[in-house]
């Protein structure tokens, strides 16, 4: 009997040796004369256990991890004999960290072969599209609205309203654009789903195309994600071969073509209008709104532009799950959020949960605190433009409005944990520096304000007229927040102001030792 072994091909697993493990498994099996089949999946998102490998058994898939190339051979023996092994984790689906999640969007990620349409279908894939084709545009829009889905890129705009706006305009050409320019540090959910379950993104975009009457779609993936680019291209080719992309999708009258475009290292292109400019082959300069992309988007045509996770949530919703999706969550944040735990954290990875779980539960309980074992001092939620929260705010529920009420944002759902060795004035400086590096230059508050911000924080760190210079930074932040054209300049004040507010003790003359090291 052939042993079926699953090894992740996710970049996060490959970065810690998954390819070498797969190689050793193959060699060890040949040596033992055992027939094995290695299936390269995505990651389940339990990154501290990567490379995590699984073997199919009558009881379900049994996981082992973290496996190094030096353990692979003995793990194979345990797989063959069914015997004990120190790295044996038990049945994968029963691992508590995985079991306590609500995996709607990430249900298949890590379980299926991301290159196989057949495997996708065998795990409930394309059920949403089949139902969408039977329902027609109006009923699709009604389902998306019912689900309460809000844009998962960070802005949280209701997806149903966005789609309806595009559907109501008549135009000879409309576009579906997927924003896969996931540049926020601490976020990797887009990368994971593109590498681990790319068909769910394709299916979501195809459903959007049918709902609004679009015939062409683009996925704009950042160049820092070569594995995701490769996975999406392979999936698009497979979907075309299976008749799920191209003319007459699934035998219907709809046609939809999809193409991957690769970014070129500009963070600001994650902003939707800069992304559209970049897709048009231009500098990634932010556009003034209005007009909204829904009215005048890519090449001036009506365009649905959504984040990867928004599209990936759609197939579940359209497969009859609109009401079930909306039943999860709290307040106006409905459904689930794929939360990413990162940085100095013991149990880092992808944790999909209904909105409402508290920050403290995520960091201390799910994440297990810091990897270094030192106390958690600060967490940054929502990427480089998100606020730093101290432990005092750990009762904040994961919810768009609750974070906004405390001058923070959930953004794309990334949480970066820092221990007590962090210097928060340095982090505030980095926020300004990053904004200065990445500013597109169109508006003055962002372009000039960020550079002045770096200079002024340097003065504070050097002990130069600290109270006066803190007042200057606060004034700069206000100008940037209210005067910038997009979220880059507008939200950079969040990490800076939150660091000042919650960690004021770090903003004074730096000890001489640190000054010398700069």
């Amino acid at each position: 009997m052939t042993l079926r072994i699953f090894v992740s091909r996710d970049a996060g697993a490959v970065a810690v040796g998954a390819d070498e493990v797969a190689l050793v498994l193959g060699l060890a099996a040949r040596k033992r004369g055992t027939e094995i089949e290695i299936i390269r999946t995505g990651s389940r998102g339990l990154y501290w256990l990567e490379p995590m490998i699984e073997v199919a058994t009558p009881q379900g898939r049994v996981a082992f991890g973290p496996v190094t190339e030096f353990d692979a051979s003995s793990v194979l023996d345990a797989m063959i004999s069914g015997g004990a092994h120190p790295l044996r984790l038990g049945v994968a689906d029963e691992i508590p960290w995985l079991k306590r999640q609500t995996r709607l969007t990430f249900a298949r990620c890590g379980a299926v072969d991301p290159r196989s349409v057949a495997d996708y279908r065998a795990h409930d894939g394309y059920r949403g599209l089949e139902r969408a084709l039977a329902l027609g545009p109006d009923a699709i829009l009604a389902d998306v609205t019912t689900s309460g889905l809000r844009g998962r890129g960070g802005a949280g705009f209701p997806t149903g309203i966005k789609w309806k706006t595009v559907a109501q305009i008549s135009a000879e050409r409309k576009y579906i654009v997927c924003n896969a320019d996931e540049g926020d540090s601490g976020t990797f959910a887009d990368r994971m789903i593109m590498e681990g379950d790319p068909f769910v993104v394709i299916e979501g975009m195809t459903i959007a195309a049918i709902a609004v009457g679009a015939t062409k779609g683009y996925i704009y993936i950042r160049s820092e994600y070569p594995h995701a680019v490769e996975a999406m291209n392979a999936a698009i080719a497979a979907a075309k071969r299976a008749g799920y992309l191209g003319p007459r999708i699934g035998g219907s009258g709809h046609s939809f073509d999809l193409e991957v475009r690769v970014g070129a290292g500009a963070y600001v292109c994650g902003e939707e209008t800069a992304l559209l400019e970049s897709l048009q082959g231009r500098r990634g300069i932010v556009r003034a709104k209005p007009p909204l992309p829904a009215h005048k988007g890519l090449f001036g045509k009506p365009t649905v532009i959504n984040n990867v996770l928004s599209f990936a949530a759609i197939p579940f919703i359209l497969a009859g799950g609109a009401k079930a999706y909306a039943d999860f969550g709290m307040g106006r944040s409905r459904g689930t959020m794929p939360i990413q735990l990162a940085g100095n954290i013991r149990y880092g990875g992808l944790f999909e949960a209904a909105f409402g779980i508290t920050l403290g539960e995520l960091v201390d309980d799910v994440g297990g605190g810091t990897l270094t074992g030192r106390p958690v001092r600060a967490v940054q939620v929502g990427g480089p433009l998100g606020a730093y929260f101290p432990r005092a705010l750990f009762d904040t529920p994961f919810d768009y409005e609750a974070f906004a009420a405390r001058d923070g944002l959930i953004g794309h759902g990334g949480i970066v944990v820092f221990d007590d060795s962090v210097d928060m004035s340095k982090q505030a400086r980095f926020a300004m520096e990053f904004c200065a590096i990445e500013s597109c230059g169109k508006c003055t508050p962002c372009r000039i304000g960020s550079t002045r911000g770096v200079e002024t924080i340097d003065k504070i760190r050097a002990g130069d007229r600290v109270p006066e210079n803190i007042a200057v930074v606060e004034d700069l932040c206000n100008t940037m927040k209210f005067g910038s054209l997009c979220a880059l300049g507008g939200f950079t004040p969040y990490p800076v102001m939150s660091a000042l507010k919650h960690f004021r003790e770090d903003f004074s003359a730096a000890p001489p030792r640190l000054q010398a090291a700069e």
Binding site: A15, V16, S185, F188, A264, Q280, F299, G343, Q427, E438
Partner: protein, 158 residues
């Protein structure tokens, strides 16, 4: 030392450009394709792209210079990119970056005098749960520590 890239050749450049002119908004696609072939975007290619896409030379130059990825000149034989964003900072990335700079004797953003190694910052590889991370010539490496960064630097110097 043999390069994995082709030397610049105008006819070959024109051929690459022609392969992509039918695409909507082709400028970035062409710049990527040229850099993939030659290792950088040679100056003479800019007016060729402009002419092929019916754009001004200034427009193409503007696009070329806007994006961090595109190179004006060839990089070192190996490119080592260190993730310098917050998640890697939280996991000790600052000290490792300083260590790599010291070992190579260059600051981030530079190439060693022997043209073997280009050391660059990168703002997030999306490997934030296995931080700190790096990329050597397209190969990703996570959970970096002093020993691993030393090994990566040594590999890049070979």
């Amino acid at each position: 030392m043999t390069s994995i890239y082709e030397p610049w050749d105008a006819a070959r450049g024109a051929e690459i450009i022609a392969q992509h002119t039918h695409l909507e908004g082709a400028t970035l696609v062409i710049l990527h394709a040229l850099q993939e072939a030659f290792g950088y975007v040679p100056e003479p290619a800019i007016p060729m792209i402009a002419s092929a896409l019916n754009l001004s030379r200034a427009e193409v130059h503007g696009v070329f210079t806007f994006y961090h990825d595109f190179r004006r000149e060839p990089a070192g034989r190996h490119v080592l990119k260190l993730c310098r964003a917050e998640a890697c900072q939280a996991a000790g990335g600052d000290a490792l970056a300083a260590r790599a700079e010291a070992k190579l004797g260059i600051a981030l953003g530079n190439t060693t005098a022997d043209e073997r190694v280009t050391l660059e910052p990168i703002y997030c590889l999306g490997l934030c749960a296995t931080a700190p991370s790096a990329m050597l010539d397209g190969r990703v490496v996570g959970r970096l520590n002093e020993a691993r960064i030393d090994a990566l630097v040594a590999e890049a110097q070979r």
